[in-house]
């Protein structure tokens, strides 16, 4: 299991670095539209991204203002993974969102 956000054609291509220690602060999501298939559109910049299945799940939780800890719990309930693995995945995903400037501190 690994949450992913990828920029599509015409978007920036930077890949987020992975931060493994502790839980990060989620921050505020920009106002974006996410399709059920994980196609994410930023109406301000016109940039588009694709999220994988786990990315969609985490993104939706962030939209619902869930804390990182709550998202970790949701992931461990849904998938057969440890809390550490889930935390690492959520952290990485949040860093990717911040790298793409989709999530503000």
């Amino acid at each position: 299991m690994c949450a992913m956000v990828q920029a599509t054609a015409g978007s920036a291509t930077a890949r987020a670095r992975i931060k493994k220690e502790g839980l990060v602060q989620a921050g505020n999501l920009k106002n974006m539209s996410l399709s059920e298939h994980g196609f994410l559109f930023d109406p301000v910049t016109g940039l588009t991204y694709t999220l994988n299945k786990v990315g969609i799940l985490i993104f939706k939780q962030l939209e619902n203002n869930k804390t990182v800890q709550e998202i970790v719990n949701i992931l461990t309930d849904k998938y057969d993974i440890t809390k550490e693995q889930a935390a690492e995945d959520v952290n990485e995903f949040i860093f990717q969102l911040k790298e793409y400037d989709l999530l503000q501190e």
Binding site: A9, G10, S33, F41, P43, V44, T45, G46, L47
Partner: protein, 360 residues
Amino acid sequence: MYNFNVAVTGLNATDNPAPGVGIARSIRKDSSWSGKIIGLAYDVLDTGIYDSDIFDEVYLVPYPTDGGGSLLHRLKQIKQKVDIDVLMPTLDSELINFHRISNELKEENIKMFMPDETLIKLRSKVDLSKFCKKNNFNSPESVLINQTSQIISAGRKLGWPLILKGIFYEAYLANSQEEACVIFEKINARWGLPIIVQKYMLGEEYDVACLGDGEGNCICAMPMRKLRITEKGKAWAGISIKDEKLLELSKKLISSLKWKGPCEFEFLKSSAGGQYCLVEINPRVPSWIYLAALAGQNIPYLTALLAYGEKIEPVNSYKVGLTFVRHAQDLICPINYIEDLTVKGELVFENYKEGFLWKI
């Protein structure tokens, strides 16, 4: 329901597409209008001429270099064949000619809604930097040059690489003095002097299609992010976006210029700092205007209505995330079309409604 005829120029939609085809499609799309769309073309092989789904009639007109006098003479000839109620010039190089004959056209009952000569010159590529400084808009630093020897000092002042631009069209990136000299000659041969040398800035390109009422009010403004850009810098794909900062800047520009008619603002969002820089003001409808029309801001149609004398309230909403992708398509036509244009300077599609006279 409105019923009037609209004449449009700028029918050549090749690698640097003129806006005429997009304008005609936009007007035709509006269900509250009926009438003829008349194409005014400069060359028999201006590509848009042959799209009989868009144009009802097409007439050849003299090139802008022939001046306003011969243009007026030709338009009077055309007016005897078909009624032109509204005329929409679309090319930078012809706007001043059209403005200079606007009073005579009014006497012929041909109406336009366009910027005057002072406005057209104020926003020219040559004077844009001056305008931006005076009105506190960010714009890339630039200098004007008239000979290749000035490239060295321009490079020293602005740093390499440089952007070289023609007074009307075309912009190229030059990485070295040698490359800049070749580009200088290329642009000079096509568009004349001076050449605008602009500081190169890395960033993302955005355009805003606007319509001003001439009293400082912005009737329409729709920003578009370029998704695909050709080597000539033309947007080949784009998406409508809702960026409040771009809308605010565009409305401020319309207000400070008291812009009359349609226009396009070109912005560059600097990679270093994310600031918006005004790169160009084009005093006419952009070629991608059909996107704005389908998004809910039918700028060509509203311009035609303003010219027709209607009062138009600002349109603030539009669909965000609507995308255009341009592609080339072959139009097949009989030799009679080319014959009519070459021999008579006109092509009336109604004459061919029974089908091609010349069987393929």
